[in-house]
Each structure stands twice: as C-alpha cells, then as structure tokens.
C-alpha cells in the first residue's frame, strides 16, 4: 500500500512541477464555465439546478482527460525509466494503480475547484443538493473511466500524441454509442435489443442516471468495470512489451 502511495506522490508532483497542471486547471474551469453559461444558458433557464453544468462533462472530459493521462506510461517508455521502475521490488499492479490514482486525484481536484458554481446556484435558488452530489459522483466516475482508457492507450505507445488520439477515439465511441442523435439514426437499422445493449454500454446512459439524482448500482458497476478492464489491459500490454 505504501509503495502505491509513493508512486502516486511522485506522479502528482510531476503534474505540479510543470506549468501544464496550472494551465490545465485554468482551461478546465474556463471551459466548464463557458459551456454552462454561454452554451447551456444557465441563467436564462431560470432553474435552480446544475444540469447545464454537468451535461457537458462527457464532452469536455473527452479532450481534457486524455490530455492528463497520455503521459502515464508513454513517458515511462520514452525515457526508458520503465526498466528502472519494473526492476524495483514492487509489483506491476502497484505501479499501474499508483499512476492511475495520481491522475484521478488530479482530475478530482479540478472537479472540486468548480465548487463556486454550486455555491452560486444555492445562493440564487433552492436546488436539490442530493441531485448535485450524485452528479458530482457521476462526473468523478466518468473521469476515472476515461482515464483508465487513457492509461491503456499510453501503455501502447511511447508517443504521447498517439496515446492521446487513441484515447479520444475510444472514449468518443463510448459516448456516441448511447447518444440519442446517433442511436436514433441506428435504431431502424438494427434489431432493437442490439441498439439497447449498445446504448446501455455507453457512458452517456450511465452518467445520466447520476445526473438524475440516482446512484444506481448498475451504473456504479458499469463504471467500475470500465475502470477495471482497461487497467487490466494496461498490465497485459506492459507484460507483453517485455516478453
């Protein structure tokens, strides 16, 4: 456990040692703000909810999360430090989890820093705060799911840009397969059960649950699997590299 935390600490410090972390935080806050107020028209809605805020997270994360995670393993491969790390008396799983946790914590920090909007909506009206808490939890899981996919793609290549692009593509697929504009087009073409199955495996359908204020156990299990499977794939890829 201690060695996981050692890895996490180093990785986290890596974010804050470079200006990239601060640039990222600023961009994240500006983007969530802009989407909420300008495109989501938070004010004009005249509703005491944060729907206009949370509805954009799957889209904003689509680019920002791969940007945070793209270096996790690809940098390790590029520098050759993977050989150093994996000859230390520590299991590969500890390394994978330690690194993943570091970037998830970083994204959580970004999410926590959006708290002024929560205060604002409470100041302006009388929102249902349980819905907001559920939505934050959903957003937290969503970031973890994207990140785990990025961990996998970063183990795949020593090139951060390729790792980023691969990750965006996979995450985009997980978004689109349950996004109504797409499912509406596909619906008449395929048997109903296929459409429903694919839609159920989309992050959109599952994050929706949280945004409606429900912490549904199926949605939680969904996210835990979308986090767990790519992390497992990360270990398979890294083991394969060395064979």
């Amino acid at each position: 456990m201690k060695s996981i935390w050692t890895i996490t600490k180093r990785e986290l410090a890596g974010y804050f040692n470079s200006p990239v972390a601060y640039v990222f935080l600023v961009i994240f806050l500006l983007m969530t703000g802009a989407f909420t107020f300008l495109i989501g028209q938070f004010m004009d809605r005249n509703q005491a909810t944060l729907q206009a805020f949370f509805m954009w997270h799957p889209w904003i994360y689509l680019f920002l999360v791969p940007a945070v995670g793209m270096r996790l393993w690809s940098e390790e491969r590029r520098l050759g430090t993977m050989e150093l790390l994996l000859t230390m008396p520590i299991s590969l799983w500890h390394c994978i989890i330690g690194k993943f946790l570091a970037s998830w914590l970083f994204l959580t920090l970004a999410l926590v820093m959006t708290f002024p909007i929560w205060i604002t909506v409470n100041y302006l009206g009388d929102p249902d705060n349980t819905v907001i808490v559920a939505s934050y939890i959903g957003s937290f899981f969503l970031a973890g799911a994207y990140l785990s996919i990025t961990s996998m793609t970063s183990a795949f290549t020593r090139n951060q840009v390729i790792s980023f692009i691969l990750s965006v593509v996979i995450c985009l697929f997980l978004v689109l397969c349950g996004w109504p504009p797409v499912t509406d087009v596909v619906e008449p073409l395929a048997p109903r059960w296929i459409v429903e199955f694919v839609a159920a495996s989309s992050v959109m359908t599952n994050v929706e649950q949280f945004n409606n204020g429900q912490i549904d156990s199926r949605a939680v299990i969904y996210f835990l699997s979308v986090i767990g499977f790519p992390l497992f794939a990360t270990s398979v890829i890294i083991r394969g590299l060395r064979a």
Binding site: K2, S3, T6, I7, R10, A13, G14, N17, S18, L79, G80, T81, E83, L84, L85, L86, T87, M88, P89, I90, S91, R242, A243
Partner: protein, 318 residues
Amino acid sequence: MIQVENLTKAFGPKVAVDDVSFSVQRGEILGFLGPNGAGKSTTMRMITGYIPPTAGVVKVGGNDVTEKPIEAKRLMGYLPESAPLYTDMTVEGFLGFCAEVRGIRDADKSKAIDRAIDMCFLKSVRHQSVDTLSKGYRHRTGFAQAIIHDPDILVMDEPTDGLDPNQKQEVRSLIRRMGQSKAIIFSTHILEEVEAACTRAIIIDQGKVVANGTPNELKAKSELANSYTVSVSGTEAASVRDKLGSVIQSSKVTIVNDKPPTVVARVFPKSADGEGELGRAIFDIASQNNWKVSEIKKEEGRMDDIFRNITLPDTQAQ
C-alpha cells in the same frame, strides 16, 4: 549470490541469449564482455527480472527471479544501459523516490540519500533538476540510484559508456571499491576495463558464452602469450627470421616491423615457456651474430587479441 543456469531468450526467431550459465559470488566483480548485439543487455534484463527468460533459471540470493521477483529484486541494485532517469525531478527527489519504493523511509531515507550522494560525488548538483545535468552527472545519479539501498548485488549495463576518460577512471575505482563486499556484474565492450576492474570475465558472442576466466587466464589464451618481441639493429629481416627460426624452442617467427636499421621480430614458443628458456636462446643468437639488441620483451598476451579471435566480426549491431 547470482546463479544463472541455461538461460535462453528468443525474440521471435532471433535467439538473443543462448544457453548461458555462470555464477557470481560475493567479493567477485564479473566483467561481461562482448561486441554490440552480443546479448549482454538481454542477459542483464533477465537477471534483474525486467524480461522473463524463454528458458533457464536465474537465482538471486537463492530466490528464483521468475517465482519470487520481489524478494530477488530487493537484493539487487541495477543500472540499466544509458542510465534512464525521471527528468522532471531533482537529484535528491529522484534518489528519495527510489529509496521509498525500496521501502526506505523517514530518517533512514535521508541517511541513504546522503550516503549515495557522497559516494557518487553528487553534492554540487543535489538540488538540481535531472534534465539540466551533464551526461557525467546523469550517469552518477543512475549509479547512486543503484546503490541507494546498499545492495549485496549490483548489476550494471555499460556503466562507463559515454563518459570521459577521467569519469571512466572514477567509475572503475568506485566499482573496485564496492566489489570487496558485494557481488557485481557489469557489462562493457571496452577491454581495458576488464583488466582494470574485474576479478573474472565472461566473453559472450552471439548469445553464447565463449570464454570464462580471470583476466590473466584469458590473456594466457591469447596467441601472443609468452611470445618475445625483439628489436635489433645491424642486420636484415631475412637473416633475423632464419636465425631465430632455428632456435629449437621457437615455433614461428614473424617480422613485425622492418625499418632499417631496426628490425622488430616476434618469436613464438613451441610450448609454454616456463623458465624463460626461449628468451635466453634469443639472447645467445643475438650475441653470436653481433646484433645490437635495443629491446626484448615477453608478452603476457592481450585482451584485444583473444577478443578478436573468439568473437565473430560480423555480429550485427543492434
């Protein structure tokens, strides 16, 4: 402390390491010598548990590296080829991280860092970021990382590669000093290094061990071993060759250099020249013929000679 038994690694159809066996005890410094692409790095990566062997066993302090990787890795310090480092950390931060991953914390950690920094002369760059270090300092930082936990076993892949002559000298003396209490393996393709720092050397070529012995034993295998090099003047090459060739103890005479008035000849012995009889015979011939001898030298044998003879020149570069 390290036992390597029938170790083999194949990358697809390419056999990089082929049935290699050897062992290293405490107090030994084993030089791992071979041309580029011979399989030195691949062997070291299997010893340190970075890549799994295709066949064979590595035991480190009695622990099978495949079955008990954590226990085995705990006993070893490893300096990979070209000393990779996390470039976004300071020297101190990096060493601290390596110590912590190895379970060294708090007061022990700062002691370990101080010790490694002292031993590797890193004081002046202690707080500097790794990516601003010169090559020599980067290498020393890699070295410091490998000894941060004062391991019983040290594995180093080309530890002097890319250093200037002074730095090479420094690293060699560091290796010699630590070799008294540890088991050390280091690879190199520099021959003088083996003579300068090793108690034993293994020559590997195309994945196979082709020689294993002390530097002196290896040198004795060289063709040159026990031959005499004679520089004479006042005569001609042809006559030197004839006269020296008639000495019963000699098997062959070659003319190394013929720049009048000096002739340099090399006389090879028939069998091991234990008592220096061949040397005395050469002196007798020279005085009988009134040659002026300016130099006569008995060769010990040379590493580069044996290296050239037993490794194939066409080993492909990586």
